[in-house]
Structures are given as C-alpha cells and as structure tokens.
Symmetry: D2
Amino acid sequence: MVSAEGGGSRRQIDLNADVGESFGPWTMGDDERLIPLVSSVNIACGAHAGDPATMARTVALAVAHGVAIGAHPGYPDLAGFGRREIDMSAADLEASLIAQIGALEAIARSQGAALRHVKPHGALYNRAARDAILAATIAGAIVRLDRRLVLVGLAGSALLAAGRAAGLDVRAEGFADRAYEPDGTLRDRRRDRAVLEPAAAGAQAVTIARDGRAAADGAAVAIAAETICVHGDAPAAVATATAVRTALAEAGIDVRAP
Amino acid sequence: MVSAEGGGSRRQIDLNADVGESFGPWTMGDDERLIPLVSSVNIACGAHAGDPATMARTVALAVAHGVAIGAHPGYPDLAGFGRREIDMSAADLEASLIAQIGALEAIARSQGAALRHVKPHGALYNRAARDAILAATIAGAIVRLDRRLVLVGLAGSALLAAGRAAGLDVRAEGFADRAYEPDGTLRDRRRDRAVLEPAAAGAQAVTIARDGRAAADGAAVAIAAETICVHGDAPAAVATATAVRTALAEAGIDVRAP
Amino acid sequence: MVSAEGGGSRRQIDLNADVGESFGPWTMGDDERLIPLVSSVNIACGAHAGDPATMARTVALAVAHGVAIGAHPGYPDLAGFGRREIDMSAADLEASLIAQIGALEAIARSQGAALRHVKPHGALYNRAARDAILAATIAGAIVRLDRRLVLVGLAGSALLAAGRAAGLDVRAEGFADRAYEPDGTLRDRRRDRAVLEPAAAGAQAVTIARDGRAAADGAAVAIAAETICVHGDAPAAVATATAVRTALAEAGIDVRAP
Amino acid sequence: MVSAEGGGSRRQIDLNADVGESFGPWTMGDDERLIPLVSSVNIACGAHAGDPATMARTVALAVAHGVAIGAHPGYPDLAGFGRREIDMSAADLEASLIAQIGALEAIARSQGAALRHVKPHGALYNRAARDAILAATIAGAIVRLDRRLVLVGLAGSALLAAGRAAGLDVRAEGFADRAYEPDGTLRDRRRDRAVLEPAAAGAQAVTIARDGRAAADGAAVAIAAETICVHGDAPAAVATATAVRTALAEAGIDVRAP
C-alpha cells in the first residue's frame, strides 16, 4: 500500500531483496547487480547462509548503494538453507535470533552503518506467518534486543500481529514474483506457475503498490503491503528486479525505503 | 601489578576466568560455582565453543554476580575447540571476530548488560602473543567495532603492543595456575609441572598481584599483570579459584574489576 | 524376551548402551566404565555427536571389551544433539544415514571390527516409532547399504514393522531405566518419575528379560524385547548398568549379544 | 606418462576432475557436463564440501557415465573449503580421513559402485606434497582402511613417496590447466598466468601425456604423470576439459582410467 504524499499522484514503495546468501566459496545470487535495484536488503546472518566475510562484503555493497540494511535470520541449518523446520525451544530460538542479528549489527556498525529492520528467513518466516507462539518468540527477541528495529513479515500474517502486540513497528510484505492464492497466501513453490516471469512480476508490483491488490486465478486479492520483495536467489533475480523497477517507474511510483 | 589506592596498604587485582565454554548438550566447567569467585569473565562467542543459549545463560550468571563481562572469541573450529591454528586470511578473521563479539554483545544488551573487554582464546591468544601481524588484525577489528573495549592479552605480548599502537586500552594478564619459564612465557602444557596445584596457584597469584613477579625454576621472573586468570575448564577450576581468593584475601588484596 | 536355551532355566538377554557421544573437547558419559558392563554398543556417527577421533576411540574400547558394535545415526544437528525433529526430505535423510553408518563402518573396519546393527538416535528414533513413512526411509537406507545389519527399534514400533517389511532382521528394544505407560510407550522424560533409580531399573530389566513385561502405574504391560537399553548419557549410567547386571545375574539371566 | 600398449602408437592417459563440491543449496561446478568428459572423478566427502545428498547425486552421475570413482577428502572446514591449513593432530586427521572415505564408500556401495582411489584436496594435497610426516599419516590412514585404494598425488611429491613406502599403489598427477615452474612445482595461483586458457591446457595435456614434460617459462620440465587433472571448480572447467579431450584425441591418445 503506497503512501500518497501531499495528495499529489506521486507514490512510493519499498523494494527489498534477500542478499548475502553466499557461504565460504559458494556464491548465491548476484548481489552486486541486484542491490543497486532495491531500496532495502535483508542480509543473511550466518546461520542458514552468510559467513562473516560474506556479511561484511554485503554490508559494504549496501552502504555503497545507500540501501536500508536489515537482518535476515533463519534456522541454524546451513545444509538445509533454513528451509527445513527445526523443532527448537523458544529459549534456543530467541538466543539464536539475538546472536544472529547482533553479529550482523556489529559488522554494520564497524562500517558506520546501522540496522533498520529484521525479516525472518525461509521456514522461520513461513511458519511464523501462521504460528502465533513462534511469532511471539520472534517479536520478543527483537524487543529484548532493540525495539527500534522494524519487523518485516507477510502481509496479514501472525508475525505482524505479534510484532504489533509487542510494540514494534511492523512492515507488511508483498511479493512481486510469486503467485497468490485467492485467500492471500502465496502459492506453493512446487505448484505450477508459482513463480512469475519478470514482466508479470512487474505488473504485480504495480497493482500491489498502487492498488493494494494482486490477481489470483483471475480474481483480485487484497495485499496491503508496504514493501515488495524480489527474490535474490532466483536465476532471474536481476531481470525480475529490473522489470519491477521499470514497471513501477512507468506507473509513477518511487522506490524508496520508508 | 596492583594499584595501591590512596597510599595505604590495601591493594586490588582483577581475577578473570574463561567461561561459557559449554556447547549444546555438552557441559564444560562449572560456571555456576566459578563465576561468583572472579571479578571478570571471558565468554565464548559460538565459534570455538558456546552456542547462543549457552551465551545467554552465562551472561545471566555474570549479571547476577555482578562480574565484568568480556568476549572470548576464537578460531571458528568447534571440534578443535579453537586450539588448532587455522590459516585464515586477515579479512576472514577480522569479520569473524566482529561477528563473534557482536553476537555476545547483543545477548548482553538484551539482558541490560554491556561488554567491557575482549580476550582472544586458545591458539588465537597464543599466536597473537608472538605474531605482530595477527595481533594487529585483532586490535584493528576491535577498533573498528568499538574502541571502548579493553583488549586483554599476555603480559609482554605482541598482542598488547598492537592494542596500544591501535589506541586501545589494554590489560596485561598473568596466570595463577600455570608455571612460568625464566623468560616470562608460560611453560608448555605438555611439560611436567606446567599446571600448578591450588595452593601453589594461590601463592603465585599473590606474588604476581603484590610484587609483580612469579617464581620460575627457583628464579624470579617479572610479571606485570593487571588481571590474573584462573582456568575455567580444568577439573580443579573451582578449587583453584577458591584457593586464589583465599590467598589474595590473606595478603590484603581485593579482587575487583578495573 | 529371553531365549531359553536347551530347555534349562538358563536365559540370556542383550544389554545395550548409546556411547561415543562426546564431541571434540566435550565429554559425555563414562564410556570406559560403561562399555565393559554391556554386550552391545550403539556408537554416535558424527551427525548429532561423535567426531571421527571419538568414534575411533569408542570403537577401540568396544573391541577391547568384546562387545557388539552398532551405528547410532541421528539428525545432523550437533547443537540440538539430534533431539529436535528436522524436516528433512527422504532423499536427504537416506543419504545422511548411509554416510553416517559408512563413516563408522570404515573406522570399525580400520580396526578389524565390523558393524552388527543400527539403532537410530533421539528424535529420529522416537518419530520413527510412530511414523511409518520415516520408518520406511530408515529401513530402506539400511537395505541399500548392507542388508545384514540388524535394525534395532522400540518394541512394537513402526520402525520394526518397516524393517521386517524391508526384509531386515530386527531387534526389539526395552528400557531398564525408563518408566512405561500402560499402552507400552515410554513415559515422557519431562513427567515425574520418568527415569528409574538403579534398583528399580535392575528390577525392570529382570521382568522384561524373564517375563516379557514391565510395571506401568501398578498394572503390567507386555514388553517383548530382545535387547535392553541402559542410557549412557545419564549421570547415574554406570550405577544403573551395574545394578541391572547384578539383578540379571541374580535372576540367572546371561548378558550376551545375539 | 602414457602406457604404450603393444608397441603401436596408440597411447592412453587418465583424465580426472574434482567434483561433488556443491553443498546444500549452493552449487559449484557443472558436474553434469564435466563428468562425461573425464575418466576418473574425485568426489568431495562432506568435510570441505559435499553434503551426503550431493555425494549421492555425484556418485549416480559417475556410475551413469562409467567413470572411475575416488574419494577427495580434505580438512574439515566448509567455510574455508579445505584451502586453509588446520593444525590437526595425526590421530584426528587419520580418523577424519577414514570417516570421510568411509562415508563416500558407503554411498557408492549403496549404488552398486566401488571406490578406486583417494586424492587429498586443497591445503591437504599441497602440504602433503612437501611434508613427509603428513604424507605418512595420509598413506597410513588408507592402508588401515583398504590397501587396494590407489593414492593419487602430485608427480614427484612426498605424498607419493609415502604411499609407495606404505605399500600402496600410487598414481602421479599432472595438471593440464596450471602453469608449472622450472622446478616442477605448480605456479602459485596468485601469480600471473598461473591458470592456462583452454587451448594452452589442451596443448600441455598432450605434452605431459605423450612426452612426459611441460613447458615452464620457455624451458621444459619433466612431468611423469599417469593422470591429468582438469579443475572442476573453475568457470571455464567444461571448456577446458573439452579442449583437453580434443587435443588428446588429435594426438592419438585415449582417455581411460587405469
């Protein structure tokens, strides 16, 4: 949902990407080309991806391009890339989240930068969208660490509700390159046409940003999003981000971090 | 080396221990009994020991007993417990140190506590005592992160020289329970009588704190230490720390963080 | 369930323990004292516990005491000690199990020993007791690797059913030191009196071995077990194993691997 | 050095590549296209690269293309990709090597395949080329596990000498795509022109295979190699392997595992 500033027709939206997901000798994504195209980045914190040297390089890129830096913590599971649920206790998860965010915050601080937001990754993000107890653990960890951090989560999710209940600023996220179901959830990646082509992603970014809705099997579904994600790990990530930027520009919508 | 306050005979010294070296289901040391006996603790940061939940429990113990909290970063090598040298690049090591210290700092902050010092662990500590380039990398990492952190290292070491050169406050460390060689280095652990019994450790703590020296094969060696370490991972750690406290008290020396 | 040999009153049962669960510098259990008291050991394979050097030392102990060697694979999760469920794909889990068993098998072979059985660990064991699909994945991995390996699982479990269906020899396990519920499941560790004292464990071992039953809240529950586990990671492990051996000896039951 | 069979002009050489170096979600190399071009593969064993599922997929590719399968063990250091020396004890390293080779052997066996050779990776390979004690540890580990495995190492290295002394069959390796120094060592990767272009690699493969020599700064250096490596992790790996195959074919040299 864009903010109409002043009352004129100029609108803006935040565009975010998950970055810093390389590890040691292994590269994922093309952060050098993707980061200049977005206004916010979510940087992996070493648990599901992103060793410290990768974190440092990614922060430096974000600083160089003036994009807002956020933490992207996940389940501690490199081999599973944080996409597998792990049955962690609340105490273990809370400590892990604080350590992950703290590691990135220190790397940012050592480069003169600050963290602005936190967006959980993968299975943690997905489960927290529907599991109120897990969502409260995540929100609580952020409150304990730094209540100025903005919590980013799926529009309409239990995670955002938990963040609001804990007193955090929250930011609802929509997806440019993922198909929605009529109930507002994301179509399962394993289903057909779950991932949109660049042109379709650009069009969906515009309808989300301008109209607060996306198409879902022909019908319209309301998506009240303040930030739009383009996935950094997809082969077409740069093409998608470019198409999204172009479509937003043509629709008169600025890309800008809140 | 004690500070004589006022000019009276009352003196003081910092007593420190390496703690938080458990990992997951595995326990090392008896932190609950050891922490009340010292004035400063060095907490493992997850790379050579200490998962986030262990870090959180250890910080809570330190807060409860009012001891000064420091970070104890090491080479990222759980199986080797940070005791094996790893040929890391300066950039990788710097990023690792900042991430480790940052993770602990965040956990401390989430409990209302702050970090006061940094003491490298194991092979990193030993190598930085004699390798000026490594020492400069460590000092540089701390300067980039937070120049208010005090760097703790072996009395007379290259690490302390690098810290001073980088503008950091440094703190020279002596050892209560380790035998010294006539040249002021520590006797190799694999040699006979390298580790002192509790009573001998108590006596050595007193001569270091009061007189700035230790006995080495009958001769005296100068040890200009502002903090004295009792090892937390030794089976006799609690007995040693108790003996050291008793001996210092009998000698009229207070145990207190600077 | 004991085998009455010949028809006389002399009976026998296998007694097993989970061992080799140390990791790097961290010790768990007292394998040197426990292994001589049992007839079979299940050795951790490096995923939830047990680095290669620990595996080698544990195999050497087992060889020295002439006990049967089995693999004890678990979820790849050191920090969680294999006690947290991880949502692994069947392909990932199968490959992990084969790699874990293979690593231990190679270490045993390099010492002139052979593997005899496989017993899953922790969350994998518990979930496979009731989840037929997971159980089939485990049984299938063993069949693909070496169908002479015996699959050890909870008496009456889905795991044993899957093993039989896959053509494996299976061995039903009972527990000396854990309380049973009237339905034959183990009482949750978090409940009161879930873990039995040494004397009670000895008595339960005898009723399982001799009579095929255990007491559960006053009633008797049938436990058709061919091997009895004493836990190696409990502080009282050696005392419990000693009490169990004494009680079995007094009841005229030999401890022997099948 | 090729074997002239019969006395005619038809010669043969083994062409090998390091493969299976992906990990979890991260891909390295293009094994699907590279494996059909070589006669032997060295598969990472999970310590420096290669999780179990990756190992299983890579073995399946090798089986499908009929290439000889070997183990490619390295220092246990994912973040450093086995390229950093780690100061491991001989006992720790021996156990690690046996566990790594055993894990891969089990995965191969579960697919009906067998291991034929072992080639150390990265810092382990390089250090064992000049460190006789390390070389003896590696050779000893293989002897303890399975003395039928062939040890592959740098032509003229301490590793091959240790293998021969331990009674192993050894195989001397040359490099198609790396420049040699006049003393027969490889030019440091950080120097100019250390890595050869595809055409030059093809030409060097031919001189090594046919003439037992390579060019080094204009002079000729003797390279007595029975297998030639093309690097799998280089961006140009497939192009290089293709050029090498073409050049060898034009020179009448067959590519075949011994």
